[in-house]
Structures are given as structure tokens and as C-alpha cells.
Symmetry: C2
Subunit: 219 residues, 2 copies
């Protein structure tokens, strides 16, 4: 717990962490456009977040911006990537090659962001043997063997909730350390396994409430 990036880990709160990928995306765009520095104001102009939050987040990242010039893009990008661990890449298996699973396999930004899906697994014989976005789909029976043989530590679960716990048990037993769970059910996993639940309808809920308020104003 000595170096800088580890002390950051203690400071950043969840809402800040969730904003980091958006900052990163915009900063990389600025870099591609040939810029060397970015001012806080220029960053804020591209964002939908409250300016005060962005200013605070940048301070928390612990870099010193230069007055009237701003932050060195390369340093700011490196600080965010190192905090998120996106400067290294984890290989992952995807379990459940339905429509959501296939989309995640084709979502290029995950691979740019430290998570490379190297293969998929499905119980449906019509899917196994196929390739989606260049990735092979294997039958579920192969899962334990391939986890061990390839040393994969991360799994993404896009299976129906009814099947999720049994699959999670298999993953943990075979040596998986982290599960990104889209299956809409709380999984029981041992404390040494990170299980992160995702619900795609959370964003829809916020959108729906904002829409409903607006409809009421139009009446």
C-alpha cells in the first residue's frame, strides 16, 4: 500500500468510479485530435455531469494541472487507466451466448478497457461450434477444463436467472476469481470471489422517470 495508485483506491467513491470511463473516452478523443493538454473547462464542455463533480473528481485523481494550460492528456489518461487497472488486460469467458451475450462479445470498448472476451459457452447445441464476432462458442461441459487449462480468472454471465447459481458454482470450483453477473439474481459465492451484479434496466428506470416528468409538463 505504498505507491500513488493504491492510495487512490482508498479515496475514490462509487459515483466517481462510474464517471471515469466517460472521462477516459473523451480524453482519448482529445488525444487522437492531436492535443497535448486539456483544460478542465474543455472537458466539462463535453460532459453531461455537473461541473463541480468533474472538478472534484480530477482533484481526487491526484494530478497537478497547470494554470491556464490544464492537465497533460497522457498523464491524465494514464492515471485513470492505472486506477481502473485498464492498463493491463484480463482474459474472460462469456457464459450464455444469447442476444445480450453476443452483443457483449462484439462490444469493442471492453477490450480497449482491460477486459478481453476470448471465448463463449452455451448449453444450446445449435450455438456451440459457431463463432460470434470471431469468438468460438463451446459447450458448457468444456467450461471447467478450459478455465483450468487457459488460466482464465474472469467470467461474464448472461444466462437466465434460474440457471445462474449452478453455473456460478461451477465457475468458482474451476478457479474463477471474478464474475460480472447480468443474470438478475444474487449469487452465493465465497468471499475470495468478486461478484458484481449488473442490471441493464437501471438506466431505463432513470430515463423513464425523466420522460414521465416531461410528459406531465406538456399536459
Amino acid at each position: 500500500m505504498a505507491n500513488n495508485s493504491e492510495s487512490h483506491m482508498k479515496v475514490l467513491r462509487l459515483p466517481t468510479i462510474k464517471r471515469l470511463p466517460t472521462y477516459l473516452h473523451i480524453l482519448k478523443r482529445f488525444e487522437l485530435e492531436g492535443n497535448e493538454y486539456v483544460s478542465t473547462t474543455a472537458l466539462i464542455n463535453e460532459l453531461d455531469f455537473k461541473p463541480i463533480l468533474v472538478r472534484k473528481d480530477l482533484v481526487l485523481l491526484g494530478l497537478a494541472g497547470k494554470p491556464r494550460i490544464g492537465y497533460k492528456l497522457k498523464e491524465l489518461i494514464a492515471a485513470i487507466e492505472s486506477y481502473l487497472g485498464w492498463n493491463k488486460t484480463d482474459e474472460a469467458f462469456l457464459i450464455g451466448a444469447g442476444s445480450l451475450g453476443q452483443a457483449l462479445m462484439g462490444h469493442k470498448s471492453f477490450e480497449e478497457n482491460g477486459l478481453k472476451i476470448i471465448a463463449g459457452f452455451d448449453a444450446d447445441p445449435a450455438k456451440t461450434g459457431q463463432k460470434f464476432h470471431g469468438k468460438n462458442i463451446f459447450p458448457m461441459e468444456k467450461l471447467p477444463e478450459l478455465i483450468e487449462r487457459m488460466g482464465v480468472r474472469v467470467a461474464i454471465m448472461t444466462v437466465p436467472w434460474q440457471e445462474a447459481q449452478v453455473i456460478a458454482d461451477t465457475l468458482v470450483e474451476a478457479g474463477i476469481w471474478g464474475i460480472w453477473n447480468f443474470s438478475m439474481v444474487k449469487l452465493k459465492t465465497p468471499p475470495h470471489v468478486v461478484c458484481h451484479n449488473e442490471n441493464l434496466s437501471s438506466g431505463l428506470a432513470v430515463f423513464s422517470v425523466r420522460l414521465r416528468k416531461m410528459y406531465q409538463q406538456k399536459k
Copy 2:
């Protein structure tokens, strides 16, 4: 601003709104299993959120639970759906039928949750004329005409960020009121249009940070 559901709109904060879809999913599962009531404890057992948050959220929804019996499932489900506006269905167009767009068209829970994607649009002639998950893909040129003719008010944008603003302008001009934007760029829209930005990598950021902490512990 007289009735109950509208006064709720003033009270619920963003983190609560984001948890509502998860509650709803579990409550509907309880109902399917033949239950009439749900206790707060039973709900908490199925959730990954802090119990104190769940208790607070339920109080904020404004229903009275019975001691030792709990909440009437039907009433709790109705309260959440009515708050979110998911008791009515909005029809939506999806713009950009790439891998993410196709997955959203096939994601059944949106339709259960008040948002029905009725058609897709794409600039790629290889995609137009096709059907994904039973939904037609039309060329972009048809967008203004079909928005007007079908009275659609909601659009989901899954296009590359470089093209997003031009398409948003077209949508607004044709009469769209709400845009759910997956395009990783802040859109300029007039105040009468609700524009909600989504970044799929936010969840990955939280997962990555939790994974990185765990890797450090294992060292």
C-alpha cells in the same frame, strides 16, 4: 401535483430509482411463485444492496406494510411500476442496428418495462430490409417520415459518436421527445427533449476496481 404518485416523484433520489428495477424483478418472481405478501426480510435476502437502503426505499414508496406479514405484492409492484411509468408502454425506434442495437432489440425486459422497440434504422444497405428479433430495419432516410406517421416519441441511439449529433438533430426536428443515448457523446438538444446518456463501461469500471483490490489481497 395532487395525487400520490406525483408527490413520490419529488422524493425519490437517483440511487433509489436505479434500484427499483431490481426490486420489481424479484417481486414479480415472488408473485409468480404464488405468494401474496412479501416481508422486507425476504426481499433483502434476495438482494445485494445494504438492508438499510432497501428499508428506506420501501418507506419512500409510501406503502404501509403489515407487521409480521409485510407488503401486499400486488400493491408494491403497482407502486413501483406506476412511479416508473412502466404501467404504460412507450413505443420507440432504435437507431443503429449494430451488435449493441441488435441486442437491445432482443432484450425482452425492456418491453416488460414500458419500452417497446417497434423498428430499427441503419445507414448500412446490408442491414436495411432485414429483420432482427422480428423487427424491421429501415434506411435512415425513412426516419423523419415514420416518426411523424407513427407518432413515435422515444428513440434509442446506438450509433458511433461521430454521427450522433446529426442524427439527434433529425430526431428532434421530426418530433422525438426522449432520447436514450448509448453513443458516448453529449448531445445538444432543446430543453423540451429528454436526453439520457448511458455508458456501458461504468459497470465494468466498478467491477475492475473490485477485481484489482482482490488481486492485491491475493499477492
